[in-house]
Subunit: 377 residues, 2 copies
């Protein structure tokens, strides 16, 4: 294998490939990046066996030469170390040449590295996902969907399915649900360009996090393909493949109560910042518990920690229906939920002191955040 | 005590005060910030008993009101927690009021905190440094002196004096020396505004680091006062006091050899970046050792690690005198030394493979960096 490549462009693609690579892997070869040079393109592969990223670098982009391949071939090079070298090389282009002992000679300007690589035939095969039935989403929408649900997945491995987000596609609607059993985030979306239907998949939260870091608004849309155990996200020259979580996701539809006892509307920013301040004391006190007392036109937030002190915050409501109420909640869950609501005004519905309550954007049923209260009153 | 203060200005001063405070302290009251309100000013004090920072907030600055004191008094409030609260408060000003049980009521907009404080009489007294004999340095010069020497102090407590920088003032010249016994950094400076002489002080490297973070180029000069066990840096409204290290600093003057065997001049940036690249492999190999081979007009750098690979870098010299040479060094020490040399061109003088070598800016004897080689050839 021998090729010459534009260093800046190479660095960007290598950085994206690295995102799939974990330094803690049971299979040592997976700490490496696989490089395949064929006739007119270079393919970079990184994988931690749960998530795989495959990036294609074309010979030229907009008539500008990116890579010149003089000899075809493949190698696996030590991921992080190789990328560090490429980043620090002195010249605008880099020449990489391998020999039959999987040694790579890397030259740029007056700098020459010889790095030991591994046999690419030892690198695991990537899962193949058929590119038949797909759905297409605008990148901005996908990033919102991830932002509005992913934070609520469980970080505990006690119930592995809860570490993923449940994607349900039915009758042209996508609904994404995440819950750690203390709070739940739901995002619904009408699909416009979808040839898939009746999908019930659990995508690992970690994979969606990594995907969110890689995709950016330069590309307008992303194609999504589902297979039995895998999902493929295809955007520009990047293939992002994640395994799906096995098991049955709990039916969460019965969690949403029917008629509220108290309903109010409140300014998102004012509410968020008041909770943020009260949480300083709640956190210092060690339990993160904030008390809320709602009455006509006003919400009072408070927290007390005998050794440290007390805090009291007043926030005006713009609408108030039903009866007054006292309830306690975990400040972190509440702030996560408010962050996921883009609207300046938030509707909050309470169903009694001991039952979960709901937050959603004003006049919008497509984002619903549900939080279990804490028993203190 | 009761006062109203501009929140933004208060935050900046609190952040600087916090820099003296360590969360790990043997004296619990030192995790707090002491606030003294007198007739027309507020004084903030933070200390970890080694370094103390005292900041004076005047009633007004440029005819703009900063703080209004309604009732004099003092209190100690929990440092980090108190600053977090002030940062997150909603309004442009904050009112702080204390009662006789050392409780502080903090109000701003619709937010009200009650925080437990401590008795200010329990706070240790700051050392008094007489403000008689002083020297004045431009801030930029002091920051350079710190940057060019401080990195070379020892991080080991085996010989405590080596964790400080030795400041010697004699015959109107300041010379600052730092060494960890593997390398040495020396900076010399003619003093213009000094009424002090015959000073031999060891200032802790940590204190100089903190000082460097607090002072900025807004103020033009800094005044420095030495007492038997303390040094006071006075800049604008900040008093920065550090204890001095006790003990005798070793005489390092005999370390500098007389006549070189090899002398060369080399581009600082090219040399630095070549070492930086070679160090990637040296670091991966675990020993940080880089070999240098100097010959007419060229320096070759190399490093080898049997399992990982090899690297070779060529850098042209702009001047070469004396005989060819092979020597090995720790890449980190070399990069630190080159960073401390502002000049684009560096003079390097070698006195043989096993003896310390010297780096300095071209045509300048005020900055000297000395490095012990590693025995490999």
């Amino acid at each position: 294998m021998k090729f010459t490549i534009q260093r800046d462009y190479f660095i960007t693609q290598l950085n994206d490939t690295l995102k799939a690579i974990s330094p803690r892997t049971t299979l040592p070869i997976l700490t490496g990046i696989k490089i395949d040079a064929s006739d007119n393109k270079l393919v970079l592969t990184g994988s931690d066996s749960e998530v795989s990223i495959e990036i294609t670098i074309p010979a030229e982009i907009n008539h500008e030469e990116i890579v010149t391949i003089e000899e075809k071939g493949s190698i696996v090079l030590p991921g992080r170390f190789f990328v560090d070298i490429i980043k620090k090389l002195p010249a605008a282009s880099v020449i990489i040449e391998t020999n039959s002992q999987f040694q790579a000679k890397i030259t740029s300007g007056q700098s020459e590295f010889n790095v030991s690589g591994l046999d690419p035939d030892q690198y695991p095969l990537l899962p193949q996902v058929s590119e038949q039935d797909s759905m297409t989403l605008p990148i901005k929408v996908l990033k919102n969907v991830i932002r509005q649900t992913n934070f609520a997945v469980s970080t505990s491995e006690t119930r592995p399915v809860l570490t993923g987000v449940n994607w349900l596609i039915k009758d042209g609607e996508l609904s994404c649900t995440a819950t750690d059993s203390h709070r739940l985030a739901l995002r619904r979306l009408k699909l416009e360009n979808a040839s898939v239907d009746n999908i019930n998949a659990i995508i690992p939260g970690k994979a969606l996090n990594e995907l969110n870091k890689i995709i950016n608004d330069d590309d307008e849309t992303i194609e999504i393909f589902f297979a039995a155990n895998q999902v493929l996200f295809k955007v520009g020259h990047i293939n992002f493949i994640s395994r799906l979580l096995e098991g049955n996701y709990p039916d969460t539809s019965r969690l949403f109560p029917e008629s509220y006892e108290t309903s109010l509307a409140i300014d998102n920013g004012d509410f968020f910042h008041a909770i943020d301040r009260a949480s300083l004391l709640a956190r210092e006190g060690g339990n993160n518990v904030i008390k809320l007392s709602a009455d006509q036109n006003q919400v009072e937030l408070s927290s007390t920690s005998p050794e440290i002190g007390t805090v009291k915050e007043d926030v005006a409501t713009s609408r108030f229906e039903g009866q007054g109420l006292k309830i306690s909640f975990n400040s972190k869950y509440m702030m996560d939920a408010l962050r996921a609501i883009d609207n300046d005004e938030v509707s909050v519905e309470f169903f009694g002191t001991m039952r979960p309550f709901i937050l959603k954007p004003k006049d919008d049923e497509n984002v619903i955040q549900l939080i279990l209260p804490i028993r203190t009153y």
